[in-house]
């Protein structure tokens, strides 16, 4: 029997990092790989979610529809996967609740793979989110969805070129008709099982920023090595991201609180 569990919107008071999946209501039993669906609003994440899981999570065209994340599962090649439909976000800089839910999940629950769904008809405006997600994790697959719409508008997407430019696997799909979904799952499965290792071409910042990042990163590594992407956290701290400071300070481990203060000093 398939069931869908709605998770509470994760706000800063309900999270606080202990950097694990239980916090995100993930029973770790069964060890199913966890795959997250991220993307700008209105790119067809929920349609893709439904097509893959066979569930009927509500789809519709208005902002903030998926504030709660929905969870389901699917099988591919004899392996069972958990799939999480994250709310639509333009960015992971966490201005709105939706964006914060998406960011916390990718950053702290650390899914085994993230599928970033982008709209083939306006690819350019979707790519900034891809760049942000690949700054957090390298296990990213880009799903160029609505490829049928794009074709109708005479837009040709060169998936190979995009893949080379980003250093990530790219699969074109039309979730509504099911086109490309098998290929998408093949690629995702290979990323999850380590048979395909994306090498994202990450943004290099100007020298003075890079220097500051490595200084901060060295300090963060002493506390959260292996638990967090320290480069990404360092960048957020340099930006003066208050939420991120609160998160780090909210870590239950007191030794870490002291360390945060030191890091920020």
């Amino acid at each position: 029997m398939l069931g869908v569990i709605y998770l509470m919107g994760l706000t800063s008071q309900s999270t606080g990092i202990s950097v694990n999946r239980e916090q995100f209501n993930f029973p770790t039993a069964g060890n199913q790989p966890v795959i997250a669906l991220a993307g700008n609003p209105n790119t067809g994440k929920s349609t893709l979610f439904n097509a893959l899981t066979g569930l009927r999570q509500h789809t519709g065209n208005w902002p903030g529809k998926t504030v709660l994340q929905a969870r389901g599962s699917f099988s591919h090649d004899g392996c069972r996967y958990s799939l999480v439909d994250l709310p639509g976000a333009y960015s992971l800089l966490a201005v709105s609740v939706e964006e914060q839910v998406a960011r916390d999940f990718i950053c702290f629950a650390r899914p085994d793979a993230v599928i970033v769904v982008v709209d083939a008809t306006c690819l350019e405006r979707n790519l900034s989110l891809v760049l942000q997600v690949m700054e957090i994790t390298e296990r990213v697959v880009v799903c160029v969805n609505l490829i049928d719409e794009a074709r109708r508008k005479n837009i040709n997407i060169d998936a190979h070129k995009l893949s080379t430019a980003l250093g990530l696997p790219v699969v074109a799909t039309a979730a509504r008709s099911g086109e490309g979904l098998n290929r998408l799952l093949d690629v995702v499965a290979r990323v999850v099982h380590g048979k395909l290792k994306p090498e994202p071409k990450r943004v290099q910042y100007p020298a003075e920023i890079e220097t500051a990042v490595s200084l901060l990163e060295a300090k963060l590594k002493g506390v959260w090595d292996g638990e967090l992407n320290t480069r990404w956290v360092a960048l957020r701290l340099l930006e003066g991201d208050i939420n991120m400071v609160e998160f780090l300070a909210g870590d239950r481990d007191k030794g870490k609180i002291v360390a945060v203060r030191e890091v920020l000093a």
């Binding site: 201005v95 306006c122 405006r125």
Partner: protein
């Protein structure tokens, strides 16, 4: 001639290039996330009946901005 006018003063049907975002902090982050980075071409699509908000075509998506947001965006008109 950088940022000769602000986006809220541009008339429907006109095209502009973004030169700068004025606010600091999360307000400007939001605008940047929507694709309003310097060098972006923006088309003013139409004004709502009361004049605010206004719909803009930004990188392939039509997005409505309020006066308080669009007045922070410095632009040059494309002739």
């Amino acid at each position: 001639m950088s940022g000769s006018t602000t986006l809220n003063t541009v008339l429907a049907g006109e095209h502009v290039l973004v030169t700068r975002i004025n606010t600091g902090g999360s307000g400007s982050k939001r605008l940047l996330d929507l694709g309003l980075v310097p060098g972006t071409r923006v088309e003013v699509v139409r004004r709502s009946p009361l004049g605010d908000p206004v719909a803009y075509n930004i990188r392939g998506a039509v997005i409505a901005l309020r006066q308080e947001e669009s007045s922070q965006v410095l632009v040059n008109k494309i002739l």
